[in-house]
């Protein structure tokens, strides 16, 4: 059984379809990259996978013991968090809320998990720092640690390297690869960076208001879509 599966899923806003006929499945250990131009429906699909948006038709199913509330989510950087007074530790710990159920406060186990994820991201020294004073790359690591606190199985990353410089971008990709390979966490990542998508992923999903391609990365590079985009990339 797949971790997450879309069956003929269609999404729309106010009756206007933005994304139609999405059919794909993600299995344990996969590293799926979702690519496509701006406005192709990537963000909509993310909302659908997180159950923040219900499909107009078709279904989004989670399986293999995964609840939709157990997906670790790394949102796009938002301006709203600027100047927000919160420590790194407070932000990471908030990722454990879904394991609290009805408990009002965090347990020792929650705190231990938060510390472990900070360690994994190499951010333990920054634990008491203020989140908004960190650099873009450090903020992403903190949010990644929070996402890891919320899941044991699946991470959903929405453009995790947007706005980062090349060195930090590379570090971020390495970190995601490590989480995928060493910790066995399945990755779904939205990306604009096709070259990196092909380099790190096992599967590719290309969107353009509908599903244009879904398959393994090696199939993608041989396909017309892959040739067009990767060829285009080299010409730039």
């Amino acid at each position: 059984m797949a971790l997450i599966k879309c069956n003929n899923a269609c999404f729309g806003y106010d009756g206007t379809p933005v994304l139609t006929d999405v059919n794909f499945a993600v299995n344990k250990g996969d590293y799926l990259c979702i690519v496509g131009e701006n406005g192709s429906g990537k963000s909509t699909l993310i909302k659908g996978l997180l159950k923040l948006k219900t499909p107009v038709s078709g279904t989004v199913e989670t399986g293999d013991g995964l609840l939709s509330t157990e997906i670790g989510y790394l949102p796009q950087q938002s301006e709203a968090q600027k100047n927000f007074p919160a420590s790194v530790y407070e932000v990471v710990l908030s990722g454990r809320l879904n394991s609290c159920h009805r408990r009002p406060f965090f347990s020792a186990e929650d705190k231990k998990a938060a510390n472990e994820k900070l360690e994994l991201m190499g951010m333990s020294d920054m634990k008491k720092r203020c989140y908004h004073e960190l650099s873009g790359g450090q903020q992403q690591r903190v949010l990644l640690a929070r996402a890891l606190c919320a899941t044991k199985k699946l991470l959903l990353l929405d453009e995790p390297v947007a706005g980062l410089d090349p060195i930090v971008t590379n570090d971020m990709y390495k970190l995601i690869e490590k989480i995928n390979k060493e910790h066995g966490i399945t990755i779904i990542m939205v990306s604009h960076d096709i070259a990196a998508a092909v380099k790190y992923s096992t599967h590719i999903l290309q969107l353009g208001h509908k599903q244009l391609f879904f398959g393994s990365t090696s199939e993608y590079t041989k396909s017309n879509w892959g040739k067009t985009f990767l060829g285009g990339e080299e010409n730039v």
Binding site: K51, Q81, P85, S94, L97, F105, C130
Partner: protein
């Protein structure tokens, strides 16, 4: 000094004054706690808007000749949910939604006051508060409500943080953001209605905004902001209350002015401190 103390003792011998003092203290702590989340959510003016709704209900209560709190609580709570829904739907933005609800209620209140020939001293009490005319049963109810607000805030603290910091993430990982936003609105509505008695409709929103803004000047952790906000509110209330009592000026105005003064002082100190830090 002993003269001042004996004057305070004289005032406190009047039953309604210690009652009003404690009630005001608890309400200002409530307001400062909720204020942290409201300010960070860019929702500071909700207190002001709800207070104006409260003013409208006071005039209606006056006409009906009933105790205002029994009408204010349900109406203001309903207004709080209405404001929340309006801005969540995105049809009308939060600030505009607050403005229309607030000005409509203010206009309605004024209109009712005029056609019923209500005397202006009462209106002044509604707008700027009065601690002397709080009845015992109302004071007890207000006290219970305020304690409920504080207990709920503490129990929901972690959820409130999550929903305030990143609502999308909270929703995606199964925190019922809508429910907790409603809880914040409900607690705010109760605080506003209760606080309006003492602070007045015009000034209650400053109790929500000032303490958290002041603590955000020097605190970098959310928990610290919440704790210092409550402490600052507590101190400002005590200074403001006694100043007003001894000088015979309106309590609400005194407390707000002390809050404003502390905000300015803290802002200056942190600005100087930062500049020194940069020079090193």
């Amino acid at each position: 000094m002993s003269e001042i103390l004996s004057r305070i003792a004289d005032y406190f011998a009047v039953a309604s004054i210690p009652r009003a003092f404690i009630l005001g203290l608890v309400v200002s702590v409530c307001a400062s706690l909720l204020g942290v989340s409201l300010v960070l959510k860019r929702y500071s003016m909700i207190g002001d808007g709800l207070a104006h709704v409260g003013y409208g209900t006071l005039t209606v209560a006056y006409v009906l000749n009933t105790e205002s709190i029994y009408i204010s609580i349900p109406v203001v709570v309903a207004a709080a949910f209405f404001l929340l829904r309006l801005s969540e739907n995105g049809k009308i933005k939060g600030d505009s939604a607050i403005a229309i609800v607030s000005s409509t209620s203010l206009a309605l209140g004024t209109f009712i006051t005029y056609i019923t020939n209500n005397n202006t001293a009462d209106v002044c009490n509604y707008l700027f508060g009065s601690m002397l005319n709080i009845k015992k049963d109302v004071a007890i109810l207000s006290m219970i409500l305020s304690v409920v607000v504080i207990v709920f805030f503490v129990l929901l603290y972690n959820r409130i943080f999550a929903v305030t910091f990143d609502e999308t993430f909270a929703k995606a990982t199964g925190t019922k953001a809508g429910l907790y936003n409603s809880a914040i609105a409900l607690l705010t509505a109760i605080t506003v209605v209760v606080g309006m008695k003492i602070m007045g409709a015009m000034l209650i929103s400053s109790l929500i905004i000032f303490p958290s803004l002041t603590s955000m000047r020097f605190c970098k952790h959310f928990k610290a902001v919440v704790i210092y906000s409550a402490i600052i509110s507590f101190i400002c209330y005590i200074i403001g209350f006694f100043t007003a009592l001894l000088t015979g000026t309106p309590t609400g105005a005194g407390i707000v002015l002390i809050n404003a003064a502390i905000f300015i002082i803290v802002s200056l100190i942190t600005a100087i401190y930062k500049r020194k830090g940069l020079k090193k």
